[in-house]
């Protein structure tokens, strides 16, 4: 036993080096390790709760959409003659296609619903107030962009529901005064829904709108990190004050303690 302890310690330090050396190499050249640590281990109010996880949940839903959407694009064909058949092919023939398509289809609703929950949480906690107004505005832009993602994606199955829903959606745009008919014609890519409509909705759905979403989410997260997470309204800790002293109760580390 006496001889194994130093050897184990040596092995441990070697292992540690194997992890540290590449990380140090990366850190020295990019500062990315520090940035990641700063992002992950930043301070949050001690009484932040499950309510504060709705934003991360929304982000996760978006990443699921991005991932499943990319894979669906491997098999989907945005052509009026083939779109419906390719969706049938994905759903019925390809291995686990039904699952990935289902994730994307239902995940879209989950993403929108979580955005609203997150928004309601921020509203009811008053977390949109100074200095976080700009982040609220960015969040609203994310909501609108996300709904545009829903609108453009709804046409892609190219069945009766999606076709007529898009007809109605585009004509709602046409009902806007003055420029409405022009917006509608631009969305359709012509006077009637046709070949160009499907491909341009596909391009918007796959590239333009997700790109905008990635940018807006990046800005949203930057502001969250810069401004910090706000305390819930029931928090007894004033902003900028020292922590209240906590008297440990029970076994240390296992229970929460009681404020004195």
């Amino acid at each position: 036993m006496a001889t194994t302890a130093p050897r184990r310690r040596r092995r441990q330090s070697k292992l540690q080096q194997a992890v540290d050396i590449p990380l140090d190499w990366l850190e020295e050249r990019s500062g990315l390790v520090g940035a990641t640590k700063y992002f992950l281990f930043r301070k949050v109010p001690r009484d932040s709760s499950w309510w504060h996880t709705l934003g991360s949940a929304t982000l996760t839903a978006f990443l699921v959409q991005a991932g499943t959407g990319l894979i669906l694009a491997f098999y989907y064909k945005p052509d009026p003659d083939k779109a419906y058949e390719s969706i049938q092919h994905i759903t019925n023939d390809l291995t686990l296609g039904w699952l990935v398509r289902g994730m994307h289809r239902w995940g879209a609703s989950v993403f929108i619903i979580l955005m609203f929950f997150h928004m309601a949480r921020v509203f009811l906690f008053g977390a949109y107030k100074y200095p976080r107004e700009l982040n609220w505005i960015v969040g609203v832009l994310i909501l609108v962009t996300g709904m545009l993602e829903g609108f453009t994606g709804y046409l892609l199955p190219w069945d009766q529901t999606s076709y007529w829903a898009t007809v109605v959606g585009i004509n709602i745009n046409a009902s806007a005064p003055f420029l409405g008919p022009f917006i509608a014609q631009f969305l359709r890519g012509g006077a009637e829904i046709g070949t160009d409509t499907l491909s341009r909705f596909y391009a918007l759905h796959m590239l333009a709108v997700p790109g905008a979403l990635f940018g807006l989410i990046g800005l949203h997260l930057y502001l969250v990190i810069r401004l910090g997470v706000s305390s819930p309204p029931w928090s007894s800790e004033g902003a900028g004050r020292d922590r209240a002293e906590v008297k440990p109760t029970g076994r240390a580390g296992l229970t929460r303690g009681r404020r004195v």
């Binding site: 009026p80 003659d81 007529w164 007809v167 109605v168 585009i170 004509n171 709602i172 046409a174 009902s175 005064p177 003055f178 409405g180 008919p181 022009f182 509608a184 014609q185 631009f186 359709r188 890519g189 012509g190 006077a191 009637e192 829904i193 046709g194 070949t195 160009d196």
Partner: protein, 324 residues
């Protein structure tokens, strides 16, 4: 230090110039004119563009509207050191007059470089973005228009009841351009056949309206037309009007709105009879129809999109319609 009252921000300059706004309006008018193909509108826009562009450029050139230069006494220190001419040596100190600290108007190289970088970047962006933008928007507005469509012999449209005719509006685009019209033969009036041909597009938001009555699917027949794509005809019976499944819009047999959200009467097709065949030439929008069948008096307007008012006070909200 001079004591100042109030916030210590930059001094308030004059109100921003409004000329760029007029410039933008002129640009919009000119572009809308180009889209509509109305040269008089383009001319109005161009005049606005030139006039506002001129005064804007003049303001910029003369420095009018720019924030005023603040004459602050320079505090002694390293900041003011660069304004003084360095003395070569102590010996020259008496010989040279001591330069007063004063603002020397200079145009530093860094300002030139940053301005030219911005300008060059702007020019490159413009050169790339202009054709791309035109390509993104233009095709949706150029080369639109309806083709003539043969929907079969007049003999296939017996007098009395509506016939549901489906046809390809643009045969080269395939099934995606399949459209539906409700065709009723009103009989011969003054030696010429009279037809009522309604579009099936609900003028609320564009859903397909259905016949309120019997649709005799069993008697559906297919008619060959010279261009190739087939026309399908389904007779109907006892149609009391049309209803939209989406939001409940209702129309009578002349296409007048009887209930629900639609804003006008159903669109109609113009037609001609050539060698005994019915040819649809173009479609138009209808405000209201008085009378029935061959005696109907139709308030016709240029084709408008669903949900767009063609008559009444709301029509003022839709002064332009893109080319169909």
């Amino acid at each position: 230090m001079v004591e100042t009252k109030g916030p210590t921000g930059p001094p308030h300059g004059p109100a921003p110039s409004l000329w760029p706004l007029g410039f933008a309006i002129g640009l919009t008018v000119a572009l809308v004119g180009l889209v509509l193909g109305s040269w008089s509108t383009v001319a109005v826009g161009a005049v606005l563009l030139l006039a506002f562009g001129f005064v804007w450029a003049r303001d910029v050139a003369t420095g009018h509207g720019a924030p005023p230069v603040v004459d602050e006494p320079l505090a002694p220190g390293p900041e003011s050191a660069r304004h003084t001419v360095p003395l070569r040596s102590d010996r020259d100190a008496d010989a040279l007059p001591v330069m007063e600290d004063e603002e020397i108007e200079t145009y530093p190289r860094s300002a030139f470089l940053s301005l030219s970088t911005l300008g060059l970047g702007g020019v490159i962006t413009g050169i790339v973005a202009a054709p791309v933008t035109v390509f993104a928007v233009g095709p949706a507005f150029v080369g639109q228009g309806e083709e003539e469509v043969d929907i079969g012999p007049l003999d296939d449209y017996p007098e009395g009841n509506f016939i549901v005719a489906t046809f390809l509006a643009r045969p080269d685009e395939g099934e995606v351009s399949r459209r539906t019209a409700y065709v009723r033969n009103n009989g011969v009036v003054d030696g010429r056949p009279s037809l009522t041909i309604l579009s099936n597009r609900c003028v609320h938001l564009g859903c397909p309206v259905q016949v309120n009555g019997l649709s005799l699917e069993g008697q559906k027949k297919t008619v060959e037309v010279p261009e190739g794509p087939t026309v399908e005809l389904t007779p109907t019976e006892a149609a009391s009007g049309f209803g939209c499944p989406c939001h409940g819009g209702q129309y009578d047999t002349e296409g007048n709105r009887t209930a629900g959200p639609p804003v006008r009467a159903l669109d109609r097709f113009r037609y001609k009879i050539r060698d005994g065949r019915v040819i649809l030439t173009s479609s138009y929008s209808v405000g209201e129809v008085d009378g029935q069948g061959a005696e109907a008096v139709i308030k016709a307007y240029d084709l408008a999109m669903p949900s767009v008012h063609v008559d009444g006070p709301e029509a003022i909200l839709y002064p332009f319609e893109p080319p169909h």
